[in-house]
Amino acid sequence: MEYPMIEVKDLQTSFRTDTGEIPVVNSVSFHLEPGEVLGIVGESGCGKSVTSLSIMGLVPTNTGKVQGKIQFKGENLATASEARMRKIRGNEIAMIFQEPMTSLNPLFTIGEQLTESLRIHRKWNKKQARARAIEMMKLVGLGRAEALMDEYPHQLSGGMRQRVMIAMAMICEPELLIADEPTTALDVTIQAQILELMKKLNRETNTAIMMITHDLGVVAEMCQRMVVMYAGKIVEEGDVSTVFQSPKHPYTVGLIQSVPDMREKKERLYSIPGQVPKPGSQKLGCQFAPRCTHAMDRCLSEAPPLQPFNNGQKVRCWLYGDGKGADIYDSAISSS
């Protein structure tokens, strides 16, 4: 039987807080094929990072709870032992974290950290590993690679540390690379360099990439498929070209229209009224209802399911219950 490389099914991650157990990722399902680049977008706090931490087995076990299935090449990572996860992390699945400082160890040199996975997982000798690490640093645009090998994280600028992280994640040529806002802290000319490098890795080693970002430009450029999350749930999924050209969920429509386009000046930007709800604050109905200009009575009482369309697009919205409202994007752009 053929498995997708990774299949996340009904992932539910919650945290214990003063006000009870709050699910921040709520029945999330998606999959990735080898070599595929999947984009995950959504507003701050919608659960993108927690989704990736769940896959990596890095949700703190004292307050967090991960339920559901995370099938990686047929093995359920949600129930894998910590020892098993340690073998997988940094080797078969690597991650670039949103906060580089939390994942570089201040006590070890850049060189020690970069060569560690090659030496442990690949059993390379010191010299081989060092040569490869230097090569990788040059690839991510770190000029003084040899000298940097013997420096400590605090001696590097934020952008340089981020690039060390990227080099570290890519050095073992993982089968799956989870990149959580990998370039957000970087300048655009450096970002362009890194994205180019990730494309190259994807092409040459068939690494699948899960690209978490708030930048729709990065998604358009890098990804084949995309998932849009809102308040812990997937609200839309589909091929990038389909979702960009005919977004269906009112949130996706609003998001795409809100972005100022560098190529032309709009008189006025579209803006989605209101703000993202606090996790767990709204129990009934569609989570987007308080901000949705299309909301109906039903939206306030019943949570809509994620419905598949023939073209592979999936949408979580009652507008599409009876085929109505299928052109909200067209009417939105023609009225703006």
Partner: protein, 322 residues
């Protein structure tokens, strides 16, 4: 020609680097190294460039939160670098700043009402009732409600906090607002709310903005003119439409080409630069961009190109146009 609201000439900020046990000055960070530009009344000048190129330092010097090492700043035709502390206090009330993270600058123990009242007190609004009324007004202007006055900063979302930061900047009717990355920390959907608010306020009160940001889409949207900085220098400045349609400086060209466009049908010709931005402690001789410039020529590493007007209102500092 009418007088610009702000005009800076050959502005410099060299931060001394102290070293050794005696704390002697061993060098300097040339954060801003001789820039000149002006901002007309009622317009928005966008300032872009990569991290560390001196954008914030420029803004802070205009407000004189930093004393420039050299150069002149005219505000309504007056040289404000020579004003006494007392005179400067008056002038400063006409210029205000909006920061990237308003949370850091809002006192967590004060209510929003108190936070907004403070600049009124500082600038001598004596009538207590009048102050209360002004606070209500300000809240409404930025799209909040009067009941928000009794709440504390942590009870607001990022977008709302940015509105409070804007309300505070507006409290004493400034002429100039320096907005330093005012929407960078916000989600796209919230970002557009704040940008729209800034535009509405500008129309309503005839405000002048210096808008500092690294997001080139946002800058195009909001700006009438745009200046591009690189390593402490202004390398290009022109009408916004001109700059985006016809960038002249190789750095501006690379910068614009590097921005990922949210459109799947669009294929971008990209200039990928090699190497890092050099250190402002040791800026390269000649053109500051020559170490990364794909078009660098021999004279670029020796002679610093001057900012010259090449076309009507379009200034560029590059030897390609000598």
């Amino acid at each position: 020609m009418t007088q610009p609201l702000v005009q800076v000439e050959n502005l410099k900020m060299h931060f001394p680097i102290k070293g050794g046990i005696l704390g002697k000055t061993v060098g300097s960070v040339k954060a801003v190294d001789g820039i000149s530009f002006s901002i007309k009344k009622g317009e928005t000048l966008g300032l872009v460039g990569e991290s560390g190129c001196g954008k914030s330092t420029t803004g802070r010097m205009i407000l004189r939160l930093l004393e420039p090492s050299d150069g002149t700043i005219y505000f309504e035709g007056r040289d404000i670098t020579k004003l006494s502390t007392n005179e400067m206090r008056k002038t400063r009330s006409e210029m205000q700043m909006v920061f990237q993270d308003p949370f850091a600058s809002l006192n967590p123990r004060h209510t929003i009402g108190k936070i907004l009242e403070e600049p009124l007190i500082v600038h001598g609004v004596k009538d207590r009732q009048g102050r209360k009324q002004r606070v209500q007004e300000l809240l409404e202007v930025v799209g909040l409600s009067s009941y928000h006055a009794s709440r504390y900063p942590h009870q607001f979302s990022g977008g709302q906090r940015q509105r409070i930061g804007i309300a505070r900047a507006l409290a004493i009717n400034p002429k100039l607002i320096i907005a330093d990355e005012p929407v960078s920390a916000l989600d796209v959907s919230i970002q557009s709310q704040v940008l729209n608010l800034l535009q509405d306020l500008q129309k309503e009160y005839g405000l002048t903005y210096l808008f500092i940001a690294h997001d080139l889409g946002v800058v195009r949207h909001i700006s009438d003119r745009v200046g591009v900085m690189y390593l402490g220098q202004l390398v290009e400045i022109s009408e916004s439409e001109d700059l985006y349609r016809n960038p002249l400086h190789p750095y501006t060209q690379a910068l614009l080409s590097a921005v990922p466009i949210p459109d799947v049908t669009y294929k971008q010709e990209r200039v990928i630069l090699q190497g890092d931005v050099p250190s402002p402690v040791n800026p390269p001789k000649g053109c500051p961009f020559h170490t990364r410039c794909p078009k660098a020529m021999e004279q670029c590493s020796n002679i610093r190109p001057e900012l010259k007007e090449l076309e009507q209102g379009h200034h560029v500092a590059c030897h390609l146009y000598d």
